[in-house]
């Protein structure tokens, strides 16, 4: 019975967060902590730090990663389903309703002008989101080279009309990271061996 209550609780809390939080997953992290760590005490602080680290470093939407994880921690598999459903439902309903009217809405001349202006704004929003993440990134040589390399190569290839899948960029950079790690690992091993002698 207690578990059932928790499952419903996870669903309702995620539903509420999904319904009232603007700005996506990053904006939600503080609210998750407030609800599940401070208020309900269903998750302890250290665990929450782990949850955020994993949600941010696994692929997919951060909001979904967190709600699946938090749901599981609170009430097992059913909890994770309840958490994810609770997070998805408000978005889904709101956007589906908007999508029914959106095309009609865009047929109004002035709405079209407005969206013309909005498009410029969205480019700015995407750019500043990227810059904000860049600022919080550790700016060592490796990170800076990968970041700048991706930007330069992608813009240059677009100008040259060469299509290269985003997946390829992600994989290449991941493999470079892995190779550099392996080199560092082997170096430290040989260093240890030398010391042994």
């Amino acid at each position: 019975m207690d578990k059932f209550k928790k499952i419903i609780g996870v669903f309702l809390t995620m539903f509420k967060i999904g319904l009232f939080t603007f700005g996506g997953g990053y904006a939600m992290i503080a609210i998750f902590e407030n609800e599940f760590v401070s208020n309900k005490k269903w998750i302890d602080k250290d665990e929450f730090v782990d949850i955020v680290a994993i949600a941010e470093s696994t692929p997919g939407p951060i909001a979904i990663n967190s709600s699946t994880y938090i749901g599981y921690k609170v009430a097992g598999i059913l909890g994770s389903i309840a958490g994810t459903l609770g997070m998805v439902l408000p978005s889904f309903t709101i956007i589906y309703i908007i999508s029914l009217f959106f095309d009609k809405f865009l047929e109004f001349e002035y709405v079209k002008y407005a969206f013309h202006g909005i498009q410029a704004c969205v480019i700015y929003l995407i750019l500043t989101a990227g810059i904000k993440m860049f600022k919080s990134m550790k700016k060592d040589l490796f990170n800076t080279i990968i970041f700048a390399g991706v930007v330069v190569v992608m813009v240059a290839l677009t100008i040259l009309s060469i299509k290269l899948s985003t997946i390829l960029y992600i994989l290449t950079c991941g493999i470079i990271g892995l190779i550099i790690y392996l080199i560092g690992f082997l170096k430290s091993k040989t260093a240890v061996k030398k010391e042994d002698k």
Partner: protein, 198 residues
């Protein structure tokens, strides 16, 4: 009625996007844009409209985009298949991590891989903004075609950037994206309506 293959295609497309994109909703934009534009589902401008709506409604941007694009292609079933597709990889991966390999992320090899992926994801976001700017505002298609520069768009972008900068200077925090979207809508009407500029 949408065909079954359209629905499966939506599911698989969004499954792929959910499975290989890093850095949350914005990190998804590059792959999502590439996929929907090459499938001829949306143009770059339509894509930007959808981002604007997804950004100014509550909830995860990724879910909003999936529902919106799914609905535009195949109605309510389309939005269900797309949303289900974008959620599934997250759900499966997180369950595997939390239930089976509790500290997968702590493995050094995985850390090495992620160390490369993180700056890449950020680079992709910045590059997406730049290439979006080239395609929708500068009107760049390729070297053979002539540019059709949207000067009003450049001015709007400059005003928006200035407002964002001044707001941050005065208030010490970032201006709400929704407020900026509302302002830019007003600027769009001012700039493009034939009443003011003939």
């Amino acid at each position: 009625m949408p065909t079954f293959s359209t629905l499966i295609n939506l599911f698989l497309t969004f499954f792929k996007v959910g499975a290989v994109s890093f850095g949350g909703g914005y990190g998804m934009l590059s792959l999502l844009r590439e996929t929907v534009v090459s499938a001829n589902w949306l143009t770059d401008s339509e894509f930007l409209n959808f981002v604007a709506v997804s950004e100014s409604t509550p909830g995860p941007v990724a879910i909003n985009m999936a529902t919106f694009i799914g609905s535009s292609q195949a109605g309510v079933l389309g939005s269900m298949f797309a949303t289900f597709g974008v959620v599934m990889p997250s759900f499966i991966i997180i369950l595997i991590i939390v239930a089976l390999v509790n500290n997968l992320i702590k493995y050094a090899g995985v850390q090495g891989f992620l160390r490369g992926v993180r700056p890449c994801a950020i680079g992709l976001i910045v590059a997406t903004a730049i290439t979006m700017f080239l395609s929708t505002i500068v009107g760049f298609v390729n070297f053979e075609t002539t540019l059709s520069v949207d000067y009003k768009g450049i001015i709007i972008l400059a005003i928006i950037a200035l407002i964002g900068y001044i707001y941050k200077r005065i208030k010490g925090k970032k201006i709400s994206p929704i407020l900026l979207i509302v302002i830019s809508a007003g600027l769009g009407i001012l700039a493009y309506s034939p009443l003011i500029f003939k």
